[in-house]
Symmetry: C2
Subunit: 348 residues, 2 copies
C-alpha cells in the first residue's frame, strides 16, 4: 500500500513505484468491451459500478502501485450546468460556454455529494474493492485547463477565445479561475472524504501560456486549490501537480505547495531534480510513444528514465502523458516489468 | 537595410528591428486574392512572380525590417519526389512516404537550381524588387521536422511512425537526418547564392522529442546544416534557429553555431538572455494570440516583451509562432508601431 505514498513524500523505498496516466483506458480490450456495454463515454463515467470495473482492470494485468479513478476532467463544468456532450471523434463540446462576465457570475457552486455523487460513489466502490492493496489516486482538471474548455466550448488548438478573454479582461479571467479553484477544491475534498489516498491536478493546457501568465493565472489558481484541500483524519493527503509543457517553470511549481510534480517527457529528470532540490518528488516521464517500440527498446528507455532521476527516493515512474489508445498491452507489461526489475538498483 | 543584420550579430542599433513569421499570409486580404488567382497553395509557391508579390505585400502595409521568402518547408521533400499534395483543410500529404531503409537510401540528392529553380527565381525577383531597402530572409525546414512529415506522410499529432523509427532504428534515423542535412544545406546555399541576406531554420517539431533525443537527433542535424552553409563574397550569412517548444534547451542551442535563436512565446526572454549569455541574439516572442486582443493591450504586451529582453543589442522582435489567419491587419499595425515607438528606449 505504501510505496507510492512513500515515494511522493520522498521517503526511502526499495524500488521505484509505477503507475501511468490513462492506465484505465482504450488500449485495453476489456475496457473497450465495458465502454461498448455502457453505450457512451459519459454513461461509463457516470455509472459507479462500470467506472469501478475499468479502474480495476489494469491492476489485474500489470504490477501497478496505484489505481487512478476512472473519470474525466470535465465533470466539474458539467456539474455546473454547461451541457457537456462528447461527440464521437470530435471530443467534448459544451452547449453553454462561458464567454462574458454574466456567464462567469452565474456559475453555481457545486456540492460534490449531490452534483457529482456518481464520482463519490465510484470512489467508495473502488476503495472497497481495492481493500488496501494499492492506494487510489483521485484527480481534477486545473482551474486554467477547465477554463480553456469552458470558454472555448470544447477542445482547442489556438485557444483564441480564452486567451482573448485573458488578454483583454485579466481581472475577469482571475474571477473565473478563483471560482473554479473553489469548485475544484470542493470536488477534490469530496473525493478525499470518500476515500482517495492521493490527489492529482491535471493542468493539461498550462503550457500554452507565456511564462508570466502561467505563473499569474494557471499556477496561482492551482495553488489556490492546494490551499483549500482538507486533511482526512488529521493527515494531509499527498498531492501531485502535472503541467504539460511546464518544464520551464519547475522552480515556481515546486513552491506551490504540492508534494510532487508530474513531468512530461520533454523534461530531463536529472536537470529537473537539480532544479527542484528536495522540495518535491518527481513523477514521470517516459515518452508514451516509446510504447510503440520493441520490448527490448522499451526496457532500455525505462532504464534511461530511472537513470536520469538517479539514486535515492522521490521518484514515481510514469509516462510523460496519457497512454495512447493503440498501444499493445504486452508493451505496457514490458514497461511495468522493467521498472520492477531495474529500479531496485537505485534504492537502498 | 542593416538594422536586422546588426541585431542578429548583436551590434548596437537605435531601435529593435521587427518582422514576423508568416507575415506574407492569409490574414492579408491582398494575399487571399493572389492565392485565389493562383488556384492552389502549391501553384502560389511554385510561381516566382506570385511568390514575389505576396512576399512584398506586408512591407507595403507595415514598417517591417525584413522580408521573408514566401515558400513552404516541404519544398525539399517535394523536390525529392515524395509526391506532395495539399488537400484543403487537411494539410500536406505525401503520396510516397519514407518508411524503411530502402526508402531512405533511394532519396535523391537535390540540385537547387534545377529541382527548386522556382524558389531561386523567386529569391532573385524579390531581391530586385526590394532594391536593398530591407534584407530578405531565406529559410528551410530542419532535418528533423522534414523527417516527421516524410515518415508520417503528412502532419501528425502523436508522431507515431517517426518516433517508432527513431526508437527502434536510431542509426537509420540518423542516416535519414544526415541526408536531409545535406539537402537542406544545398537548398539554403542555393538561396544564399541567389541573394538571401539571412537564413532561418524552422524546427517546428523539435519540441516533441525528449531532451536527449532533441540534442542527438534534431539539434545535431541542425548543426550539420549550419556547418555546410556557404559564405557569399567571403562573408558569412547570419543564421537563425527556431525550435518551437525548445525553451528547455537554449544553452545547447546557443552552441550549435547559429547567430540567433528564435523563441516561442512560452520562454521568458529575460531568463533566456541570462542563459545564452552573449553567444547568440534572440528573436521573439509575442504570443500570436495577443493579436486577437484590443490594440491598447497589444501595445502593452509588446512593451512587456521588449522589457523582458531589456536594454542593449541582440534582440529581434517577432511573434513566438506564425501569425494566425484570422487576425485583423489593423492589430498587426498596432504591434509593429508599438515596436517602433517603444523600443528606442532600450537602445543608446
Amino acid at each position: 500500500m505504501t510505496i507510492l505514498l512513500d515515494a511522493l513524500l520522498r521517503r526511502p523505498v526499495t524500488r521505484t513505484p509505477v503507475w501511468f496516466m490513462r492506465q484505465a483506458g482504450r488500449y485495453l480490450p476489456e475496457y473497450r468491451k465495458v465502454r461498448e456495454q455502457a453505450g457512451s463515454f459519459i454513461n461509463l463515467c457516470t455509472n459507479p459500478e462500470l467506472a469501478c470495473e475499468v479502474t480495476l482492470q489494469p491492476l489485474r494485468r500489470f504490477r501497478l502501485d496505484a489505481a487512478i479513478l476512472f473519470s474525466d476532467i470535465l465533470t466539474v463544468p458539467a456539474a455546473m450546468g454547461l451541457g457537456l456532450d462528447f461527440t464521437e471523434g470530435e471530443g467534448p463540446r459544451f452547449a453553454r460556454p462561458v464567454r462574458n462576465e454574466q456567464d462567469i457570475d452565474r456559475l453555481p457552486q457545486i456540492d460534490p455529494e449531490t452534483d457529482l455523487g456518481y464520482v463519490m460513489e465510484a470512489v467508495r466502490l473502488i476503495k472497497r474493492e481495492l481493500a488496501g492493496r494499492v492506494p487510489l489516486i483521485g484527480f481534477a482538471g486545473s482551474p486554467w485547463t477547465l477554463a480553456t474548455y469552458m470558454v472555448e466550448g470544447g477542445g482547442s488548438r489556438e485557444f483564441k477565445l480564452v486567451k482573448t478573454l485573458l488578454y483583454n479582461r485579466p481581472e475577469l479571467m482571475q474571477r473565473l479561475l478563483s471560482k473554479l479553484a473553489v469548485a475544484v477544491a470542493d470536488y477534490l475534498n469530496g473525493q478525499i472524504a470518500a476515500g482517495v489516498d492521493v490527489v492529482m491536478l491535471f493542468d493539461t493546457w498550462g503550457g500554452v501560456l507565456t511564462s508570466q501568465d502561467y505563473l499569474e493565472f494557471s499556477l496561482a489558481a492551482a495553488q489556490q486549490v492546494r490551499e483549500q484541500l482538507n486533511c482526512r483524519d488529521g493527515k494531509a493527503i499527498p498531492t501531485i501537480l502535472f503541467t504539460k509543457g511546464g518544464g520551464q517553470w519547475l522552480e515556481a511549481m515546486a513552491q506551490a505547495g504540492f508534494d510532487a510534480l508530474g513531468l512530461d517527457w520533454t523534461c530531463d529528470l536529472k536537470q529537473a531534480r537539480q532544479r527542484v532540490g528536495d522540495r518535491v518528488a518527481l513523477q514521470g516521464n517516459l515518452d508514451p510513444a516509446v510504447l510503440y517500440a520493441e520490448p527490448h527498446v522499451i526496457r532500455e528507455r525505462v532504464g534511461q528514465v530511472l537513470d536520469r532521476f538517479g539514486f535515492g527516493p522521490g521518484h514515481v515512474f510514469n509516462l510523460g502523458h496519457g497512454i495512447t489508445p493503440d498501444v499493445n498491452p504486452a508493451h505496457v507489461e514490458a514497461m511495468v516489468e522493467a521498472v520492477h526489475e531495474l529500479s531496485p538498483a537505485y534504492h537502498f
